[in-house]
Symmetry: C2
């Protein structure tokens, strides 16, 4: 049924009814979260019966796992192509934006909806960032050191923050950064923020702030050591 008969052979996977259901789930999970979406909602958007959703994915958790798997597959595939050039996470993000809007929107929600699979994606991004830090400043960020892990994780969270909080950015900037072709706005803005902060930290005030924080941390470390 549903004709088009397309190519002759194997169940190529995509654009099948199963894929349409999965895409509907991706969209609704991204919009309302997993808890806020019912199987009947998904069936409605995919224009099939609720029973069919269950037939293809077994359970609601099955749909979620299928969504996670599809997103992970897409992201990792893009990550390979993006190479490991400098600022890996920024490029990776950009290529993902271009790959599939649906996947990116789901990813943005899944990062705070604690899906175990998508959590591994954060880890992968943080790992790439850590490697980049070590490559750029080997003596400052040794591989595996605590400081390297902390900086890499924080930087990853900052970059992904612009993804996760896209709704607020859209409201405040008057344009949706997840809409097709708008990703560069965020990339440019992040780069510009780094540039501005670079100036700021070189200023008199910036030097003072850095020194104050360094002293505070030394103090903290000293107190911990003598405790």
């Amino acid at each position: 049924m549903r004709s088009t008969k397309a190519s002759a052979g194997p169940p190529l996977d995509d654009r099948t009814t199963r894929a349409r259901i999965r895409d509907a789930a991706l969209e609704l999970f991204a919009e309302r979260g997993v808890h806020g979406t019912s199987i009947r909602d998904i069936a409605g958007r995919a224009e099939v019966s609720a029973g069919l959703v269950q037939h293809h994915f077994g359970s609601k958790d099955g749909i979620r796992e299928a969504c996670d798997a599809h997103v992970i597959d897409t992201v990792l595939r893009q990550a390979e192509q993006a190479g490991d050039g400098a600022a890996a996470s920024a490029e990776l993000l950009a290529s993902m934006y271009a790959a599939s809007e649906r996947v990116v929107r789901y990813l943005a929600r899944a990062l705070v909806d604690d899906s175990p699979g998508v959590g591994a994606l954060f880890d992968r991004g943080a790992e790439l960032t850590a490697q980049w830090l070590t490559r750029s400043w080997p003596e400052r960020y040794p591989a595996g050191a605590e400081v390297t892990r902390q900086r890499a994780a924080t930087m990853t969270a900052m970059h992904l923050g612009t993804l996760v909080l896209h709704a607020h950015l859209a409201r405040w900037m008057g344009l949706d950064p997840l809409a097709p072709g708008q990703a560069h706005v965020i990339s440019a803005a992040m780069l510009d923020v780094y540039t501005a902060m670079s100036d700021y930290l070189a200023s008199e005030t910036g030097v003072k702030i850095r020194r104050a924080l360094a002293e505070y941390q030394d103090d903290l470390k000293g107190r911990k050591a003598t405790r």
Copy 2:
């Protein structure tokens, strides 16, 4: 009942049973999201009956609004005290961490659970950041300009990203940045990331990247103008 009789007169608000219910709601909403939390869950954690929750807040949406109002009140109160020194958002974040762990954890979830009230908090943070940008670089970030709005919103999202993604940071760094007394780890890491990126952007590669992006944006602008 519940003795202590405390002060004589009016329902002073806090530590009343009503406040205990609200705190339980704050915790559960933060942990599982609004959709993932039932009124009976809240009643269970507050050790009261489900009917009492309804009696105090009217409906589930009423509880949510009460949580939002309490968080907004707490945050704004902290924002006043924190002054408007440099890097306002960082200081504001730090003082909030110290004020109430429960409030911060709820805020982290509410920022991606689209609560209208908490959305206004993002706006307030972005506005403070925009003002700081304009004060620091008046010619580069004029008040009200599009570039100022974009940079301020992006910077705010980057900083709040470390809040919203705290679970991933906790997993990757081996310590919960929202635990009492751990906020400085993120502050220090963010500052260090800015410092590192400052070095990077001054390097040969960094200059090349910035030039490439500038050309890309000029190209984009030109194409839009001649279209």
